[in-house]
Symmetry: C2
């Protein structure tokens, strides 16, 4: 069975986010009243697995092994069955 994983990886609070800071500065230079910007990533993965539980377990593993850095990143996982 195929599952669609949506994995959102973002910096933990308090970690410096140079891309977010640069984006905030550029938006301010364009005239927007921006207080703060943070930048995260979204991975959309099409994965073969037997059950939703297995897909969730594998998504969690993928984050720990490759997609997120446990020292500095938070991640959130959404698993959907495909039709």
């Amino acid at each position: 069975m195929k599952y669609r994983l949506k994995i959102h990886v973002s910096l933990k609070l308090g970690h410096s986010d140079p891309e977010g800071e640069t984006t905030a500065r550029l938006l301010r230079e364009l005239g927007y009243k921006v207080e703060n910007v943070s930048v995260g990533k979204v991975y959309r993965v099409l994965l073969e697995a037997d059950t939703t539980k297995e897909a969730e377990r594998k998504a969690e593993e993928m984050c720990k092994r490759l997609l997120a850095n446990p020292t500095k990143d938070d991640y959130a996982i959404v698993v959907e069955e495909t039709k």
Copy 2:
């Protein structure tokens, strides 16, 4: 008033996504049955604006002027009032 913008920028369908392809390959090398990976960005912006409508209009403008490339990117905007 302050608004929280969540702006999701992803490549339009059919555009080559080298980061997604590399991630898919690495996940396969780790043993996951991955068919496809695409990678997008999420900007979380704290913006000062007078109304929700104005915040939405500004978010749309920011995408066109800075955050997305109209030739190759799709974007989606969610605006929330902050409490």
